[in-house]
């Protein structure tokens, strides 16, 4: 899977590394700001109120 990704990417190795770093940053952003907050509401029942 990742080997295939490496083959698909164009350019010399440092261009590929650059593209992968940018991709990883985009994935991390999506996880930290969208996926994780959404998951957190489901799997992490935090109750701070009395009721």
């Amino acid at each position: 899977m990742y080997a295939a990704l490496w083959r698909i990417l164009p350019g010399p190795w440092w261009v590929r590394v650059l593209i992968l770093v940018i991709l990883a940053a985009a994935v991390l952003y999506g996880l930290f700001f969208y996926a994780f907050p959404w998951i957190s509401e489901i799997v992490n029942p935090q109750e701070v109120t009395v009721q």
Binding site: A4, F32, V48, T49, V50
Partner: protein, 273 residues
Amino acid sequence: MDDAATPEGAGPDAPESGAPKRRSARATKPRRRASVIGVLGELLLTAGVVMLLYVGWQLWIGDVIYGAERSAQAQEQSEQWQQQYEEQAAASPPMTPAPAPADTTADPVILPEPADAEIFGIMHIPRFGPDYQVNIAGGITRPRTLDPIGIGHYPGTQMPGEMGNFALAAHRTTWGKPFNRIADLHVGDAIVIETPDGWYTYRFRTLEYVKPSAVDVLLPVPQATDVAANGRYLTMTSCSPMYSLAERIVAYSIFDSFTPRSAGAPSSLNGTA
């Protein structure tokens, strides 16, 4: 081993004789083919990394992100109220010409109860640092108030400065953890609620640990049923122990003074008094 298994670079036109040793060594390496097991393994590894990232986000990075965001939002809100006040003051000069001296206390302005998720105040606690400022909004639901805004006001409880109990809830861990250091408060610490009208200073008195069902901490006189309001209390609830649903930590404070915006920020905000 055969030609079909050589990498793209070593096709039929590649100079085989140019650098025989290295070339052939690389050419003999069979091209990895994606197998089901291999892809499955990579997916599992990825899932493991994502789960570790989640833990890191939940316990650390998320709080850094949200904490900074909460503080910036509250700072912006505070500046906006100050600007509104100055524009109003400029438009209609006050009747009383002399500027009020610092720390003038007056009868507190009582705000109407806010709508759900409507921001009406900012909490400042000098004990938690000069940058500690978190917006307070109506309602105590996680998706509408506690997660996206910060501190929530129990509907039906009193408002800042009002006789009775001004009751708030916020996260102690995760989501920017507004009440993370609630157990570090010292007796007499200032808890300042800023609103468009001014600053309400409360003084911390005591902590208590209760069951999640202990709704009587929200009564006009906390935990005293059938007693008419006899003072101005601030009750803050959060989870206890940290990361747990088992109990609630409750911090009680008593109203100290109200400083109208015309008198400027009170000295209780500096943490010295």
